[in-house]
Symmetry: C2
Subunit: 240 residues, 2 copies
DNA sequence: AAGTGGTCTAGACCACGGC
DNA sequence: CCGTGGTCTAGACCACTTC
C-alpha cells in the first residue's frame, strides 16, 4: 500500500479532500459530474472499493449525489448535512467571516446536570465558555460550551476571539472530535437571552443541546445553543 | 452469489435485519457485544467486507457502537438517529400505539410554495393530508403532508386512520422512500395551531419541514410538522 | 498474544440509465 | 450498447484493546 504510507492519511480521505477542494474552489460546480468510481480508481491508483468508499462518504455529507446508472454529481449546496462543524468552519465554508463576543470564560462548579451530560460526578469543576455569535453586528446565537476542567482548564486562557475551540482542542490537547448527539427543541427567550439576541421576551428560539464525543468515544464538550430561528436553520438529511 | 438469489434482499441487509431482530426481541441488550465482523462472515457465509458493510450501517443508525480493537456493542437506545421513519414506525419501535386524527384529506391547488418544494409547476393539484398526532388523548403534533395529485390522488381514500402513509405508498404504489431533507426552526403557535395542540397562542413550537425523496431521487412528499417541544425532542447524531 | 475494527486489493456480476 | 453505481469475494496488513 505504498500510497498510504506517504503520509498518515488513508487513501479514501485523500480522494475526498481532492474532490472537496475542487468543489470549494469552484472547479466543480453544482450539477457537474464527479469522476466515476472507476476513473478515480485509475487516477489515484487505488482499488474500486477504495474509490467507492470515498464517494459514499461524500454523499452522506451531502456534498455529492449519486445516481445508479448515471453517475456522481456535485449537489446543490444546501449546506453540509449531518456534518459536525465548528461555528468557524461553518461560516468560512459559506464565505462568511466568523464574528463572536466572549461573554464568559472561567471555571465553574455545582452544575450537576451539565456534569452528568459529560459523564462526570455532580460537583466536578467545569470550564464554561459562553459566546454571542454575530453576523456582522447582528447577534443570532448564544452558545455555552462546557468541558471537564480536569483536562482542559487552560482553554479559559485560549484566544477564542480568534481561534476556534475545535482547533484549540486539536492542536493544544491532541483531542480529535468524532461525533455529536444533539437534542433539538423550541423554547421561549427569557429576559437575558432576549436582550442579548435582540428579540422580545417570550419569542421562540431554537435550542440545540449537544454532547460532542472525541474519537476515543469520550464525552468532551457539552454545548447549549440558542438560535434566532429566522436567521439560523438547521438542515438535516435522514436516510431510510 | 447463491445466497443473494434466495430472495431479492442483499446479504448485508439480511445480516442487519437478523441483528436488529435480536436487539428488538431483547436477546441482545444494550452493552452486549454483537458478533464480530469475522464471526458474522463465517455464520452468514459472506466475505469480511460484506459483514463489515452490515455493521457500519447499523452504527450510522445509532443501533450499535463500534470500538476499534474492542468490538461492536449494542448502543443504549437513545432512539434511532438519522433514520427516516414514519410516525407509525417511530411509535411502535418504542412500544407505543400510534394514535392520530385525520383533519384534512382532499385535493387542493393554488399552493405554489408547496408545489415548488415538490418540483412541480405553481398551480399543480396536490393531495393534502393533515393529521393531529396524539399520545393517548394528548395532542403533541400537527402534521400536513402534500403529494403530487397526478400520481397519488387515490391516497385521499386510503384508510390512514389505520395504515401508515409510508406503507400505503409502498404497497399500493410501489414507491420506496429513500431519504428526506429537513429544515428545522422554532415558531410561535398561531390561533388554530394553539387550539389543536392545546397550548397558549404565541407558545414556541418546533417546526420541521421535510421533503421526502423516493429511491428514484424524486421529491415525493412535502411534510410540515409542528411539535409541542416539551413532548417531542428531535435527536440527531452528526459525524465529523 | 489473540482478537477486533480500519484500510485496502484486484478482481467479479448485476441492475439500471442514457444514447 | 456502454458506462454507471450496488453488491460481493477471499484474501491482506495495520493499529488498537484486552488479557
Amino acid at each position: 500500500m505504498s500510497t498510504n504510507h506517504r503520509n498518515g492519511t488513508p487513501a479514501y480521505q485523500r480522494i475526498q479532500n481532492a474532490i472537496r477542494h475542487r468543489i470549494e474552489s469552484s472547479h466543480l460546480k453544482p450539477g457537474d459530474s464527479v469522476p466515476s468510481e472507476r476513473e478515480l480508481a485509475k487516477v489515484h491508483k487505488v482499488s474500486l472499493m477504495t474509490a467507492r468508499h470515498a464517494l459514499v462518504g461524500l454523499e452522506r455529507e451531502g456534498l455529492v449525489e449519486r445516481r445508479r446508472g448515471a453517475g456522481t454529481f456535485v449537489a446543490t449546496p444546501k449546506i453540509q448535512f449531518n456534518k459536525l462543524m465548528s461555528y468557524t468552519e461553518h461560516m468560512s465554508s459559506r464565505g462568511l467571516t466568523p464574528n463572536s463576543r466572549v461573554l464568559v470564560s472561567r471555571i465553574i462548579a455545582g452544575e450537576p446536570e451539565v456534569a452528568a451530560r459529560l459523564g462526570l460526578p455532580p460537583n466536578s469543576a467545569l470550564v464554561k465558555i459562553e459566546r454571542l455569535r454575530l453576523t456582522g453586528e447582528e447577534p443570532f446565537a448564544l452558545e455555552a460550551c462546557h468541558l471537564p476542567a480536569g483536562e482542559f482548564s487552560e482553554v479559559v486562557n485560549a484566544p477564542l476571539g480568534r481561534a476556534s475551540l475545535f482547533a484549540t482542542l486539536q492542536y493544544e490537547y491532541g483531542v480529535e472530535l468524532a461525533y455529536a448527539d444533539e437534542e433539538v427543541d423550541a423554547t421561549a427567550a427569557d429576559g437575558r437571552v432576549a436582550e442579548l439576541l435582540g428579540v422580545a421576551q417570550g419569542y421562540p428560539v431554537l435550542r440545540i443541546r449537544q454532547v460532542i464525543y472525541s474519537t476515543k468515544g469520550k464525552a468532551t464538550i457539552y454545548v447549549v445553543g440558542l438560535y434566532r430561528s429566522e436567521n439560523h436553520r438547521l438542515l438535516i438529511r435522514r436516510f431510510r
